[in-house]
Symmetry: C2
Subunit: 254 residues, 2 copies
């Protein structure tokens, strides 16, 4: 099994190192990841700037390719120009901090997996629910097991698995849950400051507001100590609204 | 009707100017848009850099607020810190180039509308299918009519309308079509070049591959001369795959 690994925290982050160690047990791993942190990069791609590919070494050993771009760029240029073949699987992570509910939309980790899905490659995004994780190893273990599982079970074309793991020891984990993307979102707040030149600037900050209640929502499963696994697709059509709209009299618009 | 207007081509682009002129006929317009071009910004937001808000003038008259960030940033900081109230509608565009099929995922224009939808504000993304449009005015007219229509008909919470307009005169337009997001995608290609220092770099390029066939797909409707209107939601859950996964024996993963 050929596995392409990427992330959004950057090629030098702890999470990707631990993930690579684990995935080497189940397949041949190639790392193609952003040179610098790309948190909240969403599904942005680089069009108006040139990309560069640099070999990245750890302890004098080749670790992978660092790209001066976004997670989605890494998958695109990785598959098109570095690998020149479709890998069997893309795994993105292990992200520092959960990518559940509304954060799925802003997530660079998820976008690397989504780019793979667009290119027809099954993929997994994996995140651990802490900004100072103590249990990366358990998340890595789940990634390894899911990698094998996905290759057996097959995902439908265009689907990725968005996996969020509580920052708990294996004994404390309550189980695994198949979930839906929640609707909980950040209560955003822009902190106003004055720079040394007397000009105003703003920092985005805020805290997650738990609006979901159902147990089968990603954020709630996670909060309850479950590993949350959500299938995500790149078809963003709102089929419920589509039905309603088919009864609209668009003649009014002409 | 209070309308917040944004885009991804930047506050100084032609499309947003023409859109604003038209929308002033149906409501009070406030412009909060990126200071510079943000094409393919996806749904990225700025977290690790401060944002700045600058008043932007056209012919010595105040036109709107320019933000050194992404389209989604503009909506967030616009609603939270500039307006300090929820507008009745957000309109994003008029984008130079279509945002249909797979481009919906990379689009900054759509992400401004999606950010509004997340914040509970009905929204419209509008694009014209040419990189050198000759018929912005017709697209603006459609935006104006849809603005009124959406306020009457109501969208469900979390839905935006992604509107793509052929670059044709009103007489040549075949009609309006309610559509689904297509699956046609770019056949990406990275052009390899050597910089003056002897180092390799890559430019993303490619061309759209029409993989869709059904008339009710956005790209096909557009190609056939119809104004395409696709409802898009921020819930990315793959409900079809979810059903399949509920029969998976996750015990294997423990």
């Amino acid at each position: 099994m050929k596995i392409l690994v990427s992330n959004d925290d950057g090629i030098g982050s702890v999470g990707i190192n631990i993930l690579v160690e684990e995935l080497k047990k189940v397949g041949d791993v190639v790392v193609i990841a952003p040179a610098t942190e790309q948190s909240a990069a969403g599904h942005s791609i680089t069009m108006k700037n040139p990309l560069r590919v640099k070999e990245h070494f750890v302890d004098n050993k080749f670790f992978g390719y660092a790209i001066n771009g976004t997670p989605a760029d890494c998958i695109k240029i990785g598959i098109k120009n570095i690998l020149e073949y479709n890998p069997d699987l893309v795994v993105s992570g292990i992200n520092n901090g959960s990518n559940a509910a509304i954060n799925v939309i802003y997530s660079g980790t998820v976008s690397a997996a989504r780019e793979a899905a667009i290119m027809g490659v099954p993929s997994i995004a994996i995140s651990v629910d802490s900004h100072t994780p103590e249990h990366y190893e358990y998340a890595a273990k789940i990634a390894g097991k899911l990698a094998k599982f996905v290759c057996e079970k097959k995902l439908r074309r265009g689907t990725l698995l968005n996996v969020n793991v509580p920052d708990l020891s294996e004994e404390e984990i309550q189980g695994l849950a198949i979930t839906k993307q929640g609707e909980s979102k950040w209560d955003d707040y822009y902190e106003e400051r004055i720079d040394p030149y007397g000009e105003k600037y703003y920092w985005l900050t805020g805290k997650m507001e738990y609006q979901d209640k159902e147990k089968d929502r990603d954020v709630i499963a996670l909060k309850n100590g479950y590993v949350s696994i959500t299938p995500v697709h790149f078809d963003f059509t709102d089929y419920e609204m589509l039905k309603t709209m088919q009864s609209w009299n668009l003649g009014l618009l002409k």
